[in-house]
Symmetry: C2
């Protein structure tokens, strides 16, 4: 884990429309190498998968109805901000619905982001013959900290959590930190070159530990079951 990591923006991607192949678009605009992790913002995955709905941005009731429809439950509300648990089990603002960058509408989260990641990864591997990983990312707030960070909604070809249980510290004692959410750190790193206004929906994270390349799942590894958290 002592090599260097590069985070490379994929620029020049066109607007994505329903039915587009994200794998094809990536390969038209980037050169990928074996063991690259390709981070794709969920926004373009939603667009490619046709997860777009009409909604009147000026009508708070229409927004609220959509947020509710996409949630399992509403945890908190403050004015127009809803903190909801989505059908995937993510806790986030407004059920993860993105009302920006969609004309007269909104983009829902992908229905199954792990599956979306697997499809893109499978297509990329089929076209290149390389071993690759894909992370589908989105921008979430945090309970106790201001500001937003990118996290992983889905992944393929990379473990979501690096489990270090059983590893010793430098003094030979068990590590206290044992489960690192590496896909979330990969998503955060990718956001450093994505920006928000510039239209860079894909980044390549190159150089991550080869040992992390095994099949992973955000839903199974990272989504915390309601009975396990201390604040819901």
């Amino acid at each position: 884990m002592t090599g260097e990591i590069r985070v490379i923006p994929v620029t020049g991607m066109p607007e994505v429309s329903p039915g587009d192949s994200i794998a094809d678009l990536i390969l038209e605009h980037a050169t990928v190498e074996s063991a690259d992790v390709i981070v794709v913002t969920s926004k373009i995955v939603s667009k490619a998968e046709g997860r777009l709905v009409d909604v009147d941005h000026a009508a708070p009731a229409a927004r609220a109805a959509l947020i509710e429809q996409e949630s399992r439950r509403i945890l908190r509300r403050r004015e127009e901000l809803y903190i909801t648990e989505t059908r995937h089990g993510f806790i986030c603002a407004n059920s993860g619905i993105d009302f920006s960058n969609v004309v007269d509408g909104a983009a829902l989260l992908p229905a199954n982001p792990d599956r979306s990641a697997r499809r893109i990864r499978d297509a990329l591997e089929a076209r290149t013959g390389l071993t690759l990983a894909v992370v589908v990312s989105d921008t979430f707030g945090r309970t106790w900290r201001r500001g937003l960070v990118d996290v992983a909604l889905g992944c393929a070809g990379i473990t979501a959590i690096l489990d270090l249980r059983g590893t010793a510290d430098a003094l030979g004692r068990p590590l206290e930190v044992t489960e690192v959410a590496v896909v979330d750190e990969v998503a955060a790193a990718a956001d450093l070159v994505m920006g928000k206004a510039e239209g860079v929906p894909v980044a390549i994270v190159r150089g991550v530990d080869r040992g992390w390349f095994r099949e992973g799942s955000v839903r199974q590894e990272i989504v915390r079951p309601p009975g396990e958290d201390l604040f819901r």
Copy 2:
């Protein structure tokens, strides 16, 4: 923001002892360039600042007393895991006290991580004549997601939050995502080369947007006041 970012581990650093100059140690083991962000794990900052205490690891009561002493309040407890609000205002496990990698003792968090970052940054700039930023990082859990990620406890020379309010999306409408916690994303990116068992306590993040280089503060920008969060 369309350039590439490199995350470079600083290897070969020795064990840090109270009174050591972290800036000197970094410059002995790495070549820094203008506009580098140097990410330093809080563990070695605590050691250099002498924030070490004796504690019997085998005595849960001694651990608990120390955790309580370092907290403003205990939010939740499950067996030996305490979720506390530290004196800095961080919400984390066990008041951020690290019981690993310290012989017969524990490392408390730095008393003022923004100040720690400023001191290291000032020393690095004085010795090199370059414009540099420093982030002091630690590994925290998240309320709703399994696994741990590195976040920033303190920063100097870099804005903690990138404020994009007033920026338009690609369609000319206001962005929904307006405040990005870039120092947390930098800390997460750095952790990708730090690992937990390998003893890489410093990483250089090279290539971040030059516009982010202005004086920042985790305490002022990122720590969410109790009245503002929805779950405390």
